[in-house]
């Protein structure tokens, strides 16, 4: 259970496939790599062969200034406890990333969700276009940074205008006026008519 040697072990696997990486260490049990889009599948399958059998998380991040999406894969090995983040930047216009369900079958629903919330296509996943959580969504994918929820809700649910004022239900109801009069009288009685 020596976690430093485990981190070196991950390094060795990654470097045997590609040298074009940006590494960052995140804590004792976690390490992150930014890699090229083309290397992702090879990296994931060789990590799986070496024991990183669990896909913990798959999602995307939007970077509108760079005009990129970043797809994230988090893998975990239960016997050599290291979380490995593999991240790859892809183009923001017509975003597409080949599916990984042939390597991790559990990614099927994560990819469907990522497609729904970011609009990234996952060719290779037969059902990635099916709707999952958002029912009959009719706008740009909502987790993109240029989607504004308050503008969407103002457009979708416009505030109503009422022709009549319904705040007082009964026009003959004089309760408010009566109460005001009573308060005035009480004040008068309390002060004995003096100001």
């Amino acid at each position: 259970m020596n976690s430093i040697s485990n981190l070196e072990y991950v390094d060795k696997i990654i470097l045997s496939i590609t040298k074009d990486i940006k590494k960052e260490s995140i804590g004792e049990y976690q390490v992150g790599y930014e890699v090229n889009q083309a290397d992702v599948h090879q990296l994931l399958s060789s990590l799986k062969l070496e024991g990183w059998k669990q896909l913990s998380y798959l999602s995307a991040i939007d970077w509108p200034e760079e005009n990129k999406f970043e797809v994230v894969y988090v893998l975990f090995n239960w016997d050599k406890p290291i979380y490995v983040q593999i991240r790859a930047k892809i183009n923001r216009d017509n975003p597409s990333m080949n599916s990984i369900i042939s390597i991790f079958p559990g990614a099927k629903y994560y990819e469907r969700e990522t497609h729904e919330f970011f609009g990234i296509a996952f060719p290779g996943n037969p059902e990635y276009k099916k709707q999952l959580i958002l029912e009959q969504w009719d706008d740009i994918p909502p987790l993109r940074k240029d989607f504004d929820p308050s503008a969407y809700s103002a457009k979708k649910f416009p505030s109503r205008e009422y022709p009549d004022d319904f705040s007082v239900k009964d026009k003959d109801n004089q309760v408010l006026e009566k109460n005001a009069k009573r308060k005035k009288r009480v004040k008068k009685l309390r002060t004995g008519g003096k100001k």
């Binding site: 995140i26 998380y57 991040i61 629903y109 919330f117 959580i133």
Partner: protein, 368 residues
């Protein structure tokens, strides 16, 4: 026989939360099935990007309704990792007490949930009474019964109130003495033995294929795969406890592990109460104005062991006053969506509710 479509949920005593299982059945046997999530989608991941780091504390407990504290812990751990913040020693121990009490309460709820699909309602009432006692303790500590907002970035919100140690000790002693009653009422109850023995099997290959974690994984692989042991957070490396395992995963084995884990949580709480030092419980997370502090750039995934499996927050900061991206990895994602689609077919209709109960499926965290 003609194929027929049936729904389990969203309104059903055997369904936990607002999701529905669509089943195509022939006679008694499920031929195809899938889960329809989305009835509880509240757009939390988007909302969190628009709120200050500290404001999100009010939002995150709502991600998983029956077990809110794990959300607070995962969010706090992720933010502290980005901030490189050391929190006071006492706060670690208080967090562990809260998390273990939450684990007991969720296990009781799930174990009592066995009563719904099997018609054994007495068990459910017993379990909910005990869960209620835990909520009373939470109310004394945090002021709230369900959504505590107690584990915050930089420690815990306030120190434990006076005399609460005695209350917790009395409660866990009482519960421990009655755990055998729970066995008799539930898994050893002759009236439901046929429903839970050798049903809803979860073989080891399926665990690795779907990515099931937590009790499902430990019951199938016979290995102590528990994040509290494997990658210890808080002070779990300084307490002694066992991880219950088994090599045959049917509904009964998973429920049995739930009871054993309650026992282990009680042991952990006892050690925490003994070892907890005195001192501060909270540090200020950042410089600057009181709430508009910033967090350095970075990516972090912070997983913790919930009662249902690995539960984590994926957080990205770009150095601003709000998170850039927050992603929630629900513990029930693999078995809830792909598991129901692939491995529920072939079982009987009445097993679907037991699948949802014993696999620990929580629909709010699938929807978010």
């Amino acid at each position: 026989m003609k194929e027929m479509k049936l729904f389990l949920g969203p309104q059903h005593p055997g369904m936990h939360g607002n999701a529905s299982v669509h089943m195509f059945v022939e006679g008694d046997i499920i031929k195809r099935s899938y889960l329809l999530p989305g009835m509880l989608h509240r757009g939390f991941e988007k909302q969190m990007e628009r709120k200050l780091w500290v404001n999100n504390i009010a939002l995150i407990p709502r991600v998983c309704v029956p077990e809110p504290d794990i959300n607070e812990m995962a969010f706090a751990l992720a933010t502290e990792n980005l901030l490189k913040l050391e929190i006071p020693e006492r706060a670690h121990w208080i967090r562990m007490i809260i998390l273990e009490l939450a684990r007991i309460s969720t296990h009781l709820m799930a174990y009592g949930g066995l009563g719904g699909p099997t018609g054994n309602y007495t068990l459910m009432y017993h379990a909910h009474v005990d869960r209620n006692l835990i909520l009373d303790i939470f109310e004394k500590i945090t002021g709230a019964r369900v959504y505590h907002q107690y584990i915050v970035i930089g420690g815990v919100r306030q120190d434990l109130p006076e005399g609460i140690e005695q209350d917790i000790k009395e409660f866990i002693d009482d519960l421990e003495s009655r755990l055998s009653e729970y066995r008799d009422l539930g898994i050893d109850n002759a009236s439901i033995v046929k429903r839970i023995y050798h049903t809803i099997l979860l073989p080891e290959e399926v665990v690795w294929e779907l990515g099931v974690t937590g009790i499902g994984m430990r019951s199938a692989t016979n290995k102590p795969y528990d994040l509290r042991k494997v990658t210890p957070y808080a002070r779990y490396d300084q307490v002694e406890f066992e991880v219950p395992i088994s090599n045959y995963s049917d509904a009964r084995a998973r429920l049995d592990i739930k009871i054993k884990e309650i026992q282990q949580s009680i042991i952990i709480i006892r050690q925490c109460l003994d070892k907890m030092p005195e001192g501060e419980v909270r540090v200020k997370p950042g410089r600057g104005q009181s709430m508009r502090w910033t967090v350095p750039k970075g990516y972090v995934y912070s997983p913790i062991e919930s009662s249902r499996g690995e539960f984590g927050y994926y957080m990205v900061s770009n150095g601003g006053t709000t998170p850039w991206r927050v992603g929630v990895r629900g513990a029930s994602y693999p078995q809830g969506l792909l598991g129901i689609e692939k491995y529920l077919p072939g079982t009987r209709i009445d097993d679907a509710a037991l699948w949802v109960d014993t696999m620990g499926i929580c629909s709010p965290e699938i929807d978010r």
